[in-house]
Subunit: 664 residues, 2 copies
């Protein structure tokens, strides 16, 4: 096993066995994640310094979180798999909790639905016969009010009462007005909350249900648009990438892929044309804070990776549905709540796509065009987080550019609203249905090793006007660029009026032609910072929500921008805290955290399922090469591409003539 | 002929004939553009108010610009083609000039190269035998210095002196240090300018050429990358769009396409699902101001539409090269300098493309995924403006979204620089070659008629935190949105910290579910405003460069954001001037101008030809429909898509097992 590989089944099983060995036989344990614990920086440096013959290999390790079932005792264990020994075993301090898991979510729904108090509320609704109530258990969030215990806020919905047997009826169209609270330790309902449905904070007791219509997304319950002809992507000679185990090679790119329950896809040792670029790239977390100030909605803030897991929630990607063309799949491997290895089939797909023209020039004197198309490599995973979906993809092009693209889709989180009522923190998307405003703030963790050195530097470049001056700028058109080194760890912002562009540089490597430090720049789309007030729990917890860029000095185990344990966390434990060390980082082993995302004011077109909103971060070489690194890509030709001519129109035969003849 | 169609050949010929009739027979005229002069608002309202039987049709008109050859006398003529009469004929006032034309550019190059003074300079260079010098004539720009006469600044380059017979040698790798000035009236060289090549403003006399290497882009002079396997797009049942003359229909979209010498592609009467959205959409101009304050570079500011023409410079798109898949082509029709109709073959291509997933949801309880792919319609044109290329595309999706996408590629504009010298307004991209910083600011003109009314409103929506308050925001998470009407014509800016989103609303049409005004929002990427100083000619001329959004009240003939005549213009004559009328526009016939683009600090990877930089503006429905307008698109299935499985990996068979067995 390569030191950076994901755990294999035997390693998961060994971890579970060793952890169980820490307790009396028969002790019920609930596992909350078993993942690779990567080697330290020093260990990897030692390993990688070797030539092809690797006499030294760092030990394999795993990281395990688990509960004593039915208690709040939560543990963190690091296991040396090579020696079969426990390296560290601690009880996680109070105030920190484990994430959800699949089995628990299903169990909580059942508990909520079967509780006598829930049944009392359902009675009051006076639903049609056979109506089926559904429950979306939500992580509790944090508000400092009776939230020491891990618990769930269960938002209640209903299938279309006229089609209760339809398992995939869009229950979000029928939000109910009461919400059971389930204690995750005792696995019991502790009380029923009521949701405000008017314009103010007041709640009322559950009333008879007002009949409204459904809003379904499954195709058999919708009209079917016509006229769409098939479009197929063929690669008759196969794909251009080579996937050998975890190693992926394509068009001068080389990288290692891995997968774990929390981050989903992780890339290691990303290089282009033999030159290292990124040691490790991964989605670090995402925070979705909601804007409704009224209880219990004020607690809604999901950390989809820390509270759940991008690997845990990865879809089983289907050939020809999720991916088009010639596709390779990779499974993921995680553990279930009993510590047993579980395959996540087809958790990642790998394929090429054509993305239009990459470069073109025509010398107008000769009319000779040279055009090269932009082929891309896509490594993709899709996660379902209860109502929402995120399509996550690493995309590489042939000119040394890496992009991380996120598409938000799925179903808005809905809550009930009385007819005729408006509130300034949500949109009515259906009769009786409000979709609250929320933000999606994602954090991409980038651990660079630009051109082979782990010590890199974060800089930003801005362009600014020269002052008008008879000697230096007589006509007032002049402007210059200035590059500023980021000297200290901290959070930094974009400034589009200055065209501020952040770059990762290697100051030890100069471009041989123009002498500039080799660099990679980042195209970061602006996102509104977290709007929650500075002293709120929303703000404290979502460390990374306040700046577009964070940079820290590398320390072991600083992987997750919101901290190790986000669920019901009430403190700042992640990147904001690490950045506050304020270390000198002007030429150091840095980690860059890129924040991006969306302010989501729902529109009715986002319901019942939203058309994707797409956001992406791109990394492009700047004076890293000596010319366009894709100048050698073969020209785009009809022989290669075999496009089809649709309208029998060739080479300048003007079929507009027919229009013209009528105008004489 | 439909009132909004482009001119046909006979109409161009008639225009020329009538214009010639204004002068003595045999008078030499130089034509600078013959285009449709669209009907007035009133005429079109009268026409469109009719049912299918159109008893009233507005007259067909053309707009003609021309010079008396060899003079500065420049004319603007509007012709009623239906009656065959001149409606208006004026001499364009001094201070305004016509654009370039193809024949003139070729002629100027010849004049510059053959002038004795040029030959003297070439002698001084002491070039290798057979070396071929090349000339890129540039529009003059404006600086208030001897610029009343229309003239050209001729930037000089050389083919690889070791391969002078290679017609497509990248001459931009060999910029020369002298620059002839050509008077466009007399068509003669008036003097030789010298280019600064050091760090300062000084110029020297022409020195013997220092031998440097070439930097070629044509494939036969470059290495050829291997490993790229073919990727073909097939549409075995044909494409899903219908193109009947100018009318294009696809997946509920309907629109008219047309083409003219200045704007290239124009769309009229864009509607979705029978509901009108945009009366007219077109690229209005683009300005490329340069940053080097030293003469003659201080004058470099190109208006690629006003100074030349997006139709004039449109590429002949080649099947299988520029476009992949099943493609339809449309020719364009323009006029040459003698007023003869000239076909621009394959100036526009129309095709579909797959752009990944459009929407997806999986009910985690059942595991049933519903996924729909995002098919797009692309209407594309590519323009070559001397060294640069722009790929321009209107892109439509199935959920009512329209995008205008621009890709900048082609070759940087270069100038000579001495070895070892750096300047703060350019990047050295090759030995002896500097690429100056510049901005690309594009302006998209959008004339909306949202949901059938020409009177619309521009608004912007912002989200902001509620103040913390025990009664209204006790936990500090609350935030609200606020929509502000733009009451007055003017220029407006983005503000990402407030998540300011501009929308076009129709206040007369309410969403039947949530009562909001139907609207379309605009996703506008931020661009640094024009950096040139307020009193500079750069600034005055590039009206639209100072704000991301302009809104004006519709007036006839206000089509071009930089004004009607941009070439060597020294005043503000376009959108900034019109917006300064400051009319009330809170519910009126408005025109929206969207500015976007790039601050271009060249990197060495942009040479010899730059990988595309992509910018786009998107228009999305907001409470315009009652649910996701693409909820009816058929599901993505393997049967339809016929993807290929590459790694023999099916349905959860874990082929990671092999890795695991070695770790026991």
């Amino acid at each position: 096993m390569h030191p950076l590989s994901s755990l294999c089944e035997a390693e998961i099983s060994l971890s579970t066995k060793l952890v169980r060995g820490l307790h009396e036989p028969g002790t019920k344990l609930r596992f909350k994640g078993i993942t690779t614990h990567e080697p330290s920086r020093k260990e990897m440096q030692q390993y990688r310094a070797q030539s092809d013959v690797k006499s030294y290999t760092p030990p394999r390790r795993s990281w395990v979180n688990y509960y004593l079932t039915g208690t709040a005792s939560f543990f963190e264990v690091i296991i040396n798999l090579t020696t079969g020994t426990i390296e560290k075993s601690i009880e996680v301090p109070a105030g920190f909790h484990g994430p959800v898991d699949d089995e628990e979510i299903i169990a909580v729904e059942k508990i909520a639905l079967e509780d006598p108090r829930t049944k009392v509320e359902i009675e009051k609704l006076k639903l049609p016969d056979g109506a089926v109530v559904v429950c979306d258990p939500w992580i509790w969030g944090a508000d400092g009010v009776a939230d020491d215990v891990r618990q769930y806020q269960c938002y209640m919905y209903m299938r279309d009462p006229n089609k209760p047997a339809e398992l995939d009826s869009n229950h979000y169209a029928f939000p109910l007005t009461f919400s059971p609270v389930v204690d995750a330790v005792t696995m019991q309902v502790t009380r029923i909350d009521y949701l405000p449905t008017g314009a103010g904070f007041e709640t009322t007791s559950t009333q008879p249900w007002r009949a409204t219509k459904p809003n379904e997304y499954i195709p058999e319950l919708n009209e079917k648009r016509t006229g769409l002809k098939p479009l197929r992507v063929l690669q008759p000679e196969g794909a251009s990438f080579a996937l050998e185990g975890d190693i992926l090679k394509w068009q001068k790119w080389e990288m290692r892929t891995s997968f774990n329950y929390r981050e989903g896809m992780v890339l290691h040792e990303v290089s282009f044309d033999g030159r290292p670029l990124f040691y490790r790239v991964s989605l670090s977390d995402m925070s979705i804070p909601y804007s409704d100030p009224r209880a219990p909605f004020h607690k809604k803030q999901a950390f989809d990776l820390g509270d759940a897991g991008a690997g845990l929630m990865a879809n089983d990607l289907k050939l020809g549905c999720d991916c088009l063309g010639a596709i390779a799949y990779k499974d993921g491997l995680i553990a279930d709540d009993q510590g047993r290895p579980v395959v996540k089939p087809n958790a990642m797909c790998i394929h090429e796509q054509d993305a239009g023209i990459l470069w073109k020039h025509t010398n107008y004197r000769t009319g000779r065009p040279v055009v090269v198309r932009r082929r891309e490599l896509v490594i993709q995973s899709i996660i379902t987080v209860s109502n929402y979906e995120y399509i996550l993809a690493f995309i590489f092009d042939q000119a040394g550019e890496m992009t991380y693209e996120v598409r938000a889709t799925g179903i808005l989180s809905t809550q009930p609203i009385d007819p005729g009522v408006e509130v300034p923190y949500g949109t009515v998307v259906h009769d009786g249905v409000l979709a609250g405003y929320h933000q999606h703030i994602l954090s991409l963790r980038v651990d660079p090793e630009l051109d082979g050195d782990m010590d890199n530097r974060l800089v930003y470049e801005e362009t600014s006007a020269l002052p008008r001056h008879p000697e230096t700028n007589p006509h007032g058109n002049g402007y210059v660029s200035k590059r500023t080194t980021v000297e200290k760890a901290g959070g930094y912002d974009l400034e589009s009026k200055k065209n501020r562009v952040f770059m990762i540089e290697n100051p030890k490597k100069k471009n041989p032609v123009n002498g500039k430090n080799v660099a990679y720049k980042m195209h970061i789309p602006p996102v509104q910072p977290l709007l929650a007030e500075e002293n709120s729990y929303h703000y404290k917890r979502a460390d990374f929500g306040d700046h577009s860029v964070y940079v820290t000095k590398y320390q072991e185990n600083e992987l997750f921008a919101g901290g190790q344990y986000t669920n019901q966390n009430k403190q700042t434990t992640g990147v904001r805290k690490w950045a506050a060390r304020n270390e000198d980082i002007s030429n150091d082993d840095i980690v860059v955290w890129v924040q991006f995302g969306l302010q989501h004011v729902p529109r009715i077109e986002d319901f019942p399922v939203m058309p994707v909103e797409i956001v992406k971060v791109a990394f492009k070489p700047v004076n890293f090469f000596t010319r366009n690194p894709a100048i050698d890509v073969p020209q785009s030709t009809q022989e290669f591409n075999q496009s089809t001519l649709l309208n029998g129109h060739q080479n300048g035969v003007n079929d507009n003539k027919s229009e013209c003849s009528s105008c004489q």
